[in-house]
Symmetry: C2
């Protein structure tokens, strides 16, 4: 499928696009064709935005968030925002989870992004997740509460328990997100585990 | 959802990605996060490939194909390939259809990309589809056969009939792709129209 020069470069672009999650070879081809028809209005601006973010995005050395427009080596905007409470740290597995928390808008403290979960199989230990760094922060930033907002999976909960144990004696209280029926959730569609958890954590009306 | 500087530029990138067909806001966010974690290895090369193709891709003035690495104003590699027969033109609606024909690899002639179908509603007439240009080519390139490889939709077939009429008296024979049971197709899953068409066009074994 290489009919002459030029087609190969478009083909290579399709292969690169197909490596994105959610896109396969077919949808990548469709996306590239869509862009080829809008080279000035959409393709060039997308290329520029990708190049800009690729070049200027930095991992925050403090919380592990990925942010653009920060001096290299300096903490991100979330870590330096004076309007955010310093006494609370919300621990998340991933930058995507930080974004999800921020969309909620209910948390006004600082974050700590682990970048994964403990996994003996993949040789991911506390060091790889920055847990010693978290313990340092709890001590130096006079943190009163560490909120574990980890996924409700086996890996997430194992990691949560490890962190809770490591924080024993630090003086900070350790909490985790409530488990129960999601807003708008219908009991009929919920798994048994969620219903049991919601029943155990029932509240007086 | 704009917690401080930098996040906005990532958010703008997600919005741009979400405009691609096949990606919604959620999958665009996932794709951008995937790239943010692979800034050097995947994000920067993708940006460079997009920028290169956006800058160097050209519409072929002869056939309407989109190709990279062609001198501006010059015909594409398919149009200038001496190994391809000049006496046959395959008319397709779209560059995607040209790509599909090339993947098949059975056609070794030249192409003509309409860029759409006739549509009174959208004010797309023969001029917009380059049909006068096609008639010129049929005359000047001594074309013996025009193969109409248009989609088997109402719009595609209406356009096919228009072109067939316009080519009457040009000396070129006009053919269209056979309709029937696709390779590997199961009768039980085919629509009635396809089965009827396949029956009408039945062949002696």
């Amino acid at each position: 499928m290489a009919p002459g020069a030029g087609r190969d470069e478009i083909e290579a672009l399709i292969v690169q696009m197909a490596r994105l999650p959610g896109l396969g070879p077919r949808s990548a081809r469709r996306a590239v064709l869509h862009l080829l028809r809008r080279r000035e209005g959409q393709m060039a601006p997308l290329a520029a935005a990708l190049a800009h973010v690729a070049e200027t995005a930095r991992d925050c050395p403090l919380c592990g968030n990925i942010a653009v427009g920060v001096t290299p080596g300096a903490p991100c905007a979330l870590c330096t925002d004076p309007a955010r409470a310093t006494g609370e740290i919300c621990v998340v597995e991933d930058v995507a989870d930080l974004w999800a928390m921020e969309r909620g808008g209910a948390f006004k403290g600082r974050y700590h992004v682990l970048g994964g979960t403990l996994s003996a199989l993949d040789a991911i230990g506390p060091e790889e997740l920055g847990i010693p760094r978290l313990l340092d922060r709890v001590a130096s930033e006079q943190v009163r509460e560490v909120i574990l907002a980890l996924n409700a999976t086996v890996e997430g909960q194992t990691t949560a328990h490890y962190i809770a144990e490591a924080l024993e004696g630090s003086g900070a209280s350790v909490t985790s997100l409530a488990q129960g029926v999601p807003i708008g959730g219908e009991l009929d569609y919920l798994d048994d585990g969620t219903i049991s958890a919601a029943l155990r954590a029932r509240r007086a009306l």
